[in-house]
Amino acid sequence: MTARTGMLAAAVLAFRRDFLLALRHWGQVAQPLVFFVMVTTLFPLALGPDLAQLREIAAGTLWVAALLASLLGLELLFRADHADGTLEQLLLSGQPLAILALAKGLAHWAVCGLPLVLLAPLVAFSLGVPPGASCAIMLSLGLGTGILSALGAIGSALTLGLRRGSLLLGLLVLPLAMPALIFGARAIDLAVHGDSARGPLLLLSAMLALCVTLAPPAVAAALRISSE
């Protein structure tokens, strides 16, 4: 892409590149997914196989596992590009960095977040969750992983190239993600008990909308700061 490429075309190019690269290295991409499943397995092992008890904690378990798996997945967002100089090229490309960041974030979510969302109802079954809650689970985690991708992108951009960056990343992103956790888990919990999850889901959508608008400029600013 050159400075003459249109903004939308540049965004599509960035999305396609990241998406295809990730597909090529799908082994790497699968790691957060496996991590998600493993973490949810820890709870029955730790607390006992009583499905009724597991059902009570399912919402929280799914969300915490998704949160931690997302943190792992953030490694894929900027680190490789930073290491091989692609990021600098993007910075120099003359394209609005916020748009590129949005495109990269979307690709990242498509590769890391979406599979998790699709897998979640299956994992939820293992925790005794009734199938009727599947829709709410996918919506809650779909919106949630989107929020986490956005917040995580900010953290990732700020900690680019730092030693022990991944540890620091958790410290930075987790507090910011707590509101999403509260409402996301609540949505799933309501669905598990047969109630409508509309309220929390709407709030989650509002949070996602906020993230999608405010995060890209923040990510762009952070990338510039980290690359000088």
Partner: protein
């Protein structure tokens, strides 16, 4: 509008001098107010009809909670000024403010937890205010950790600034979420850990403490700011003559 006066003010040697001259004007009144507030709160105020003498903890808990928020706000505003107008002094102020705020957040948590024990029977309750303060402490920790882990001072300043601003935007959302979450799970019998409805002799010591703590923050910030300026201006020429003050 001619902004040279502002840039002059923000120049390190000037700022260093002015900060030094201002400190006593914050420090001494702060000390007097805090002493007066302590006396008013511990001795003069009558015991609360519901909480007895335990309510007196409010005279240190509320000012620390207030300060934890005020300092974060100050830090975020200073960070924004530093980022937008590229004024190094603003970044220095943000760096100076963070540990102060963190210490008062910790104090608010500790006093809140201790206050909770006679009121609710346990040393820790996931009360909305306490949980909010805990998350605030994490936010402070994040900003300080980020600044500490970047060696290049400019990059550290600006990264920490972005994080502080992201934090302050999130803060209302966090507060609202935590309060909402708390109402969901709050048994009806638990009373809120808050200021009992106060009037007259109970209220004035609280106001005095709030003002005293605020001025105190100003004084401590000025001293830390001077230290930051000196550290950042290591090799500047004005140090030789300027330090005579």
């Amino acid at each position: 509008m001619n902004w040279t006066w502002l840039h002059k003010l923000a120049s390190p040697p000037h700022a260093y001098g002015i900060a030094g001259r201002l400190t006593p004007w914050f420090g001494w009144p702060a000390g007097a107010l805090i002493v007066a507030g302590l006396y008013g709160g511990l001795v003069l105020a009558p015991p609360d009809y519901q909480q007895g003498d335990a309510f007196r903890i409010v005279y240190v808990h509320a000012p620390s909670a207030w300060l934890s928020m005020l300092v974060y706000g100050t830090m975020a505003v200073a960070a924004a000024i530093g980022l937008v107008w590229r004024i190094k002094l603003a970044h220095a102020a943000a760096a100076a403010a963070a540990p102060i705020g963190a210490s008062f957040t910790a104090l608010a948590l500790a006093t809140g937890a201790i206050w909770g024990k006679p009121m609710w029977g346990t040393w820790w309750v996931w009360d909305a205010r306490l949980t909010s303060e805990l998350i605030l402490l994490f936010l402070y920790a994040g900003v300080m950790a980020l600044r500490a882990s970047i060696d290049d001072r400019d990059r550290a300043d600006r990264a920490a600034a972005v994080l502080a601003i992201v934090g302050i935007v999130n803060l209302p959302i966090i507060h609202y979420s935590v309060y909402w979450w708390n109402t969901l799970h709050q048994p009806a019998t638990l009373s809120k850990l808050g200021k009992p409805s106060m009037a007259g002799d109970m209220l004035w010591p609280l106001l005095v403490m709030l003002l005293g703590f605020t001025l105190y923050f100003g004084a401590v910030l000025l001293v830390r700011l001077r230290a930051e300026i000196l550290r950042r201006e290591r090799d500047a020429g004005w140090l030789r003559t300027g330090l005579a003050q």
